[in-house]
Symmetry: C3
């Protein structure tokens, strides 16, 4: 009964084919090559090695690794939901990028009646995709692939609007996307999960558990994200020293948050032991915290301090805020995205505003960032406006999306089949045997390392 309502045979193909028809028609009508991909625009004077592909492709490839391998592995931390975590990530990401090429195309790459396409569009689309995947973290294991595709379908355009407001209209500093990507993704995801609230899950769920192998795979995902995060934060900064600093600061911020995460994990978990959930998540906080000022002259020591600060906020969030949100505010944030992306994004925004060295620098070098003719104070107000409008747009967009996802026929899993691959996959023979044995164990030993159980 419950299982039948999650049968994908008609629902998923119907939705996917509809989306594909939409995409291919819009591509056919609107998408053409840009100056660097159009053979007709190359002349005898064109130097092939100056094609933009050689600047953009390495960063594109690095971010692909983060999205498909890094996120994919990281989201596979549930013992019985490894297929779901890795494979729905694959599906959702693929569609989100296709769709973002169109949405962002209309906003940023549209002229002469066409969207002009090169690898640079793909990088932009990957950022929109990262937004969707972060939001996905809030509802991991509780949504069907049909729902995830619809979420991507709605989130990408709302993000497109936010991006337009923040980048084109308010013109704020946010090289690493701390406001635009992390804060937006967080509050959109929280909006969705707020509407999809499942009271029974607050009492714990027998399948909401990691296994030894799933923890290993998940931390491997963390390492991929960690290694390529500098590429993420610098891909859209100015070429040259700006990009160079973005790489340095991201590395330093991540390093600092990693050390801090180990310290806090041992300090705050039971028996003075480390928790894999902390290693998987909290170590990454520094990558977000340095984001908004990642290309500025903030000094290496400040990047280090931002990493420590972000990590501490993230860790305390997992420990105290997430349980509170789940119990009191109906916000069941499965992967704790509010800690890793929300709190850290807020810190990053404030840091970019307050940075005294920046204000100082701006006086020293009149040209620097002053093309906008704003004083440091004015710029701070713009940053705050960007933050506010991003949060508002994201939260409202997320909640409306959540309402839509409650419609029938979207194959939403019943409470019992949350975090369970058997619902949507033909699982191998060892799945039931293996899980049966472990299930028995779980009854006696509550599982210890899912994010929600850090407390």
């Amino acid at each position: 009964m419950t299982k039948n309502s999650a049968n994908l045979r008609v629902r998923l193909p119907a939705l996917i084919f509809a989306l594909e028809v939409m995409i291919i028609v819009l591509y056919a009508v609107f998408v053409t090559y840009d100056d660097h991909t159009n053979a007709l625009l190359q002349t005898n004077m064109t130097k092939p090695m100056e094609n933009a592909v050689y600047q953009d492709y390495p960063f594109f490839a690095d971010i692909q690794m983060m999205i498909f391998i890094g996120f994919g592995c990281l989201l596979s931390f549930f013992q019985r939901y490894g297929f779901g975590g890795m494979v729905f990530n694959f599906l959702t990401a693929t569609f989100a990028i296709q769709w973002a090429i169109l949405i962002q195309g209309f906003f940023h790459f549209y002229y002469d009646g066409k969207i002009h396409l090169g690898v640079i569009n793909l990088i932009n689309a990957e950022f929109a995709c990262a937004v969707v995947l972060i939001s996905f973290g809030a509802v991991l294991g509780k949504t069907s692939p049909v729902q995830l595709l619809i979420m991507a379908l709605l989130e990408v355009p709302v993000f497109g609007v936010a991006e337009w407001i923040v980048v084109k209209y308010l013109k704020i500093n946010d090289a690493g996307g701390s406001i635009l990507i992390h804060v937006f993704a967080c509050y959109f995801g929280l909006g969705v999960t707020f509407i999809l609230y499942r009271p029974s899950l607050n009492d714990g769920h027998s399948k909401e558990c990691t296994s030894y192998q799933s923890d290993m795979l998940s931390v491997l995902g963390t390492l991929f994200l960690w290694v390529f995060w500098p590429s993420f934060n610098c891909a859209l900064t100015l070429r040259g020293d700006d990009q160079h600093r973005a790489i340095l600061h991201t590395f330093i911020g991540l390093s600092a948050s990693t050390l801090t995460a180990f310290a806090l994990s041992a300090m705050l978990n039971k028996n003075g032991k480390l928790s894999m959930a902390d290693v998987q998540n909290v170590t990454l906080a520094g990558g977000v915290t340095v984001g908004a000022s990642v290309d500025m002259m903030i000094t290496p020591a400040a990047a280090y301090a931002l990493g420590m600060l972000g990590c501490t906020a993230c860790m305390l969030g997992y420990k105290y805020l997430s349980p509170f949100l789940a119990r009191r505010l109906r916000v069941q944030d499965q992967c704790g995205i509010h800690n890793l992306h929300g709190l850290t994004g807020l810190i990053s925004t404030v840091a970019a505003i307050c940075d005294p060295q920046l204000a100082e620098l701006q006086e020293l070098i009149p040209g620097l960032k002053a093309g906008l003719g704003r004083t440091a104070k004015e710029q701070a107000l713009y940053q705050l406006a960007a933050l506010g409008s991003t949060i508002a747009l994201a939260a409202v967009g997320g909640m409306l999306t959540g309402l839509l996802l409650k419609l029938p026929y979207l194959a939403s899993p019943s409470d019992e089949f949350c975090f369970d691959d058997e619902l949507f996959f033909n699982v191998p023979a060892d799945y039931n045997q293996y899980v049966g044995a472990v299930h028995y164990t779980i009854v006696n030993h509550p599982c210890v390392s899912t994010p929600k159980d850090v407390e």
Copy 2:
């Protein structure tokens, strides 16, 4: 008894040392540095940063990831044959590259009595290696490392001849290697497996099964292949806009086939559930289908359509053609390479021939691809000739290789020990315990996600 005939103690070292002596002697006699690696050819005027290594090495590294990590993980999908999948891939790939450096060297990089070596040779050798690994997919789990090395020893030279015919003599469009690499590899592999036919395997094999962990690892391999496939398809295209388009089209083609694969998997598998075998294989079809025209001005929408088309053919192949081939034509294609590389390669070839936009373009820009002085129709005939001669050469070469692999003393596994790591590896203590338990389960629940069982 059966096990003794698979003892590698003498066979494998004897073969490997013989191969190594051959390689090192030929390297010593024939291989020298090319213009970009020879210190004696650098002058005061040489600009180090213009060395070809900076153009070639990033693509080389990406393809290394595909070959050693991507293929390695993908081929580890059997529950009891993870070591074999990943490790024999490692061994075979390593030897194939060494050997291809020599074979292709004589065909393409030979002058002044020497083969001239740089990273560009390694990229070419990686393509030859990919050919061998694709063919390996047809006989996975049914061959010894001794047989695999001999297969590589024979396949690389035959491929070298095909490459010479297609690239140097027929001069066809095949930037992504759809004809040369995928079609050749497919029919060579099918030729081998046709000769190595094992009637008993058509009734299913208790070990021909995936496990939860092996499915995870295999899909991780898919993701590595997916992420780096643009580098594979563009590595040997012209620098500049051609290479840029190749990246775009590959990405779009893969995206389209991925979405389509999820739709068809839910539609065609039992209970309306997704099959991991489809996610592992069918998602990749688009990368092959765009291959032959990957650098042309085919439009993004056409790349999308090619991805959908290739994916559909591949999926239907797994469902209907593979069982037919196994039962009626004695072709036991273990990984379904005929679906993922054969059918898609054929589609790609036809697409490159029929592309109306290309014909149109060729009239618009007289210089484009017209250095050969061929009309679109003539070129189409050349493409067909290339396809035909590739298939013929591959199939005959494969069958002859298969005959050789049936010689005694090559440690061919008995039917019982197919798909079983215990035959060639000292396995850890948990191997038997773990497998014993699962074996019991398999008796009752036929396994659901190996390619052959998609039906």
Copy 3:
């Protein structure tokens, strides 16, 4: 009791916070941007694309993959110590890089009262980090995270001194770091483990065992190291043809050692079967052996021979030398670093000295490497002096570090809890169930594939 002494709640945070305060203060006082990261030093004439980041970042990223993914997976080969292998590698590497930025900064990048920071410093710091991680291999599973951080704290400065002596003072050829990195790391690690000798471990340990999944993950780590090793060996060579040759030779050396490793593994292991420990370790020997002469005109055939030679020495070392060292000389070398890094490093050093072609070349091209005004014989003596001083410094430094690590309160694991994640991690529920079952098996079947058991 035993477990309480390994409680990390106070020890680990106290140490980490102390280290972080030290780092951030030193960064604040001493670390500033270098010419390529300082915005104030860019002028209207600066071409952004000529920033050093575009030369250095790709190599940096590749080496990050080796350190965090490659080493992390490789060191996860113990069945019950996967978390420890991968996660302590993460922790130790992160701190080692932070610390090496300062230490090497004072030695190599210090002027105008400041350490000047760019991605090039990070590459250098990654090499220092690799040194620490190799040494870590000697004591894997027998040390607490507190001890590992202290080891990194001490090893990095000693390495800094060795680096200064070898590179700045003796000016030897060691592009791939065979002497400086591999030999140093090996003898430092052996020095530590000599002091930390645990007699009871010589009789084997019930947890010193691999599992099927841990062996798979570990060989995946090997493949990452294998794929990116050319980047490691060439990152600090001269741009242009030198770097190009370094890539070629590393690839060829690794290929040769991989083939050889398979041959020797089948030849020397019981039942003529392959051992995963050999595939995980011995295949990599060629990467070290070509190191000291990796950028020279040694010829491809010589690189091949070096790979075969290094692999053979490494394999024989695992089989005969490691057991001898453990039983007679109290050197319990957990991962066999003496075979993979020590013996191979020695061979590489000798090869770089003896290379007749180099001597010949030096006469042909007076400018080549002759800026030092040394004859080939003099240079050989300098190389030997470098080797000797490196070994002496490393061994003494390692032993003194070992003595420090025996101090109380460092959470050193008891013999019983060596190789056991439960000591330092909150493990998931399936850990005990799974391990309980396997433990039972181990009693009857001694485990077969940890390095120490190759014999």
